[in-house]
Amino acid sequence: MKDWRYRRELAVAALLGCILLGLAIWAPAFYQAQPLLSLATREAPSLIVTCGMVIVILTRQIDISVGSMFSVCGVVCGLLAASGWPVWSLLPAGVVIGGAMGAVNGVFIAGLGLPSIVVTLAMLVALRQGLNLFRQGEFVTLPDGVQWFGMSQVHGQIVVLCATGVLVALLAYGLQRISLGRHFYAVGSDAEASRLAGLKPRRVTFLAFVFLGALTGIAAMVNVVQSPQVQPLSGYGMELKVIAAVVVGGVAISGGRGYLWGAAVGLLLLACISPALVYLHMEAYWEKAFQGAIILVAVLAEGLRARSARRHRTDFS
């Protein structure tokens, strides 16, 4: 049994490997250092948000307001930078703003027991339109020294990638090796059992949303430093991409099951489709259709697995 614990994650990784291999054979141009580096850096923010989403989905909740939170964090931090805050202070600022928005979600969901999908839907709409209202779609022009932390592009990209890598590794470690990480699993697996075991499911759920908010803030920072301007719609549609990555990566939507690294591989897989289409001389506008098909295949595989598992159990009443 133990050897097969990661079968889902490994299957996704294998698929990703196949695509990368295919690219190596038919489109070696894909492996030029600079475009590859840019591609990876561009996906870094989504990767960070994916990690947060893994936590929330593990606790059997969902958050579809991440895209709006991402935009708000980016714009507010951009404004702070424009008003003269030093670059280093933006990261804590982003964490605080994102964490605060996550806390609002958490209060409604964990505190009042409202359904997470509706609460975060309301947040998605309210934050997006609130941002539009106050900014009217204006871009924020950043002062010098913010883009790539004032370094050259390549250096900046390397810093961003390394920081993201370290963060993701820390989170993956924490989810397996820090007790709070395991509490997310426990609450998502069975909230009542976790209450009986003396955990505080509401608090854990609340923390999951705060974590996601804070990570979204960090992700927004990682996005802000990549360009000379902050685009107010930068997070548009991010929620669906991130949730798709989590599902493809084998994290159960019913909570309690899955691994962060699986979701990370899932995101890379989805992110590779678009460049793969371009380099393999297919039309890029098939991207969305492919992404949708991959999500459906992933959920189908999960469903068939659950079904066969059910059949092997003698009593399922």
Binding site: I117, A122, Q129, Y285, W286
Partner: protein, 341 residues
């Protein structure tokens, strides 16, 4: 005794539709009073005029249709994120059928509806047949349908120049009322009959309340679920036709983001995301509250000056949705406090 008195009080005062009706009337009166100003083009557009009301109706038809399609689905404790994507796909299918294939309207319209039904059947097969979670399945088809629409048009083609007979569906009037209103009313009445007056509607609610209990009561759960998702596909296709006729063009990005407004309207209308509870009347009121808010704000001088009707109405809609949720929870919270004592 105290408990039952409390619940009777609750039933009258917190009846969700009642609350929405009050909100709607207050909204309407406010805009009627403050909203009679000239618009940007210098034309006087009183909020109270019939034209303005018809305009609201015209603009809220597609979201209204999607919300109606979503109501029975959410009553089964399901969800469909793909309705707006399917709307886009159907618009493109219709455009291709009339332009590239050259079919007459009498063939193209039924075929478009068929395409919508097929799209719904994809959801239905995965959700009802294989019992996969609706949220994830429709998240997948949300991408898939939109992606197919983009792929079919190469992301760029826009179909325009539809026959005027078709455009009348979205821009003209039948019997003095916007043409699409008749479709909307027809679908609304049909949905109301289905949800509140038919045995199938009762089954839908039973599935939402207790999926296993439904099976034990002899309800064909799979059949019912298939029905609601295919129906949603058909209604999405109808919405696609209305949308295309209103704008006079079919593009792959038709109605992007409409699913969120439609879901918001349904939930605002008092339908529980956990299934079972809810009504078509509530959904209609939810659509009306959102539509009047959006259009009414556009007539307020302050908002016109700021040019931010869309944003402000979105912000208020989000707030209203949270408010409605908390109000819905209030009786439960209050009674919990009472029992503690």
């Amino acid at each position: 005794m105290k408990f039952s008195a409390g619940s009777a009080w609750r039933r009258i005062l917190f009846r969700h539709e009642m609350l929405l009706l009050v909100v709607l009337i207050v909204e309407w009166l406010l805009f009627l009073h403050f909203g009679t100003m000239t618009n940007r083009r210098g034309v006087t557009v009183g909020f109270g005029t019939l034209d303005r009301q018809f305009d609201i109706l015209r603009h809220s038809c597609e979201i209204g249709l999607l919300a109606l399609a979503l109501t029975p689905i959410i009553l089964t404790a399901g969800i469909d994120l793909s309705v707006a994507s399917l709307l886009g796909l159907c618009a493109i299918v219709f455009g291709q059928l009339t332009h590239d294939v050259g079919l007459p309207l009498s063939l193209a319209i039924p075929l478009t509806l068929l395409a919508g039904g097929l799209g719904g059947a994809v959801n239905a097969g995965l959700i009802a047949g294989l019992r996969l979670p609706p949220l994830i399945v429709t998240l997948g088809t949300y991408s898939l349908f939109r992606g197919l629409a983009e792929a079919m048009t190469g992301g760029a083609v826009t179909y325009t120049q539809f026959p005027s007979g078709f455009l009348a569906l979205g821009q003209g009037r039948w019997l003095g009322v916007p043409a699409q209103a008749w479709i909307f009313v027809g679908v609304a009445v049909g949905m109301w009959m289905l949800v509140h007056r038919s045995v199938a509607g009762r089954f839908i609610r039973v599935i939402g309340f207790a999926p296993e209990g439904a099976q034990y009561a002899g309800v064909r759960v799979g059949k019912c679920l298939t029905f609601v998702y295919v129906l949603a596909g058909l209604v999405s296709a109808a919405a696609a036709l209305v949308y295309t006729a209103r704008l006079g063009q079919a593009k792959a990005d038709a109605a992007v983001g409409y699913e969120l407004y439609a879901i918001t309207a349904v939930v605002l209308g008092g339908t529980s995301i956990f299934g079972g509870k809810g009504s078509v009347t509530g959904t209609l009121l939810g659509v009306a509250v959102i539509a009047v808010l959006k259009n009414g704000l556009a007539t307020l001088p302050v908002v016109i000056r700021m040019n931010s009707a869309e944003e402000l109405s979105g912000l208020l809609t989000g707030g209203l949705l949270l408010f409605a949720l908390v109000i819905g929870m209030l009786p439960k919270l209050l009674s919990a406090v009472c029992i503690r004592r």
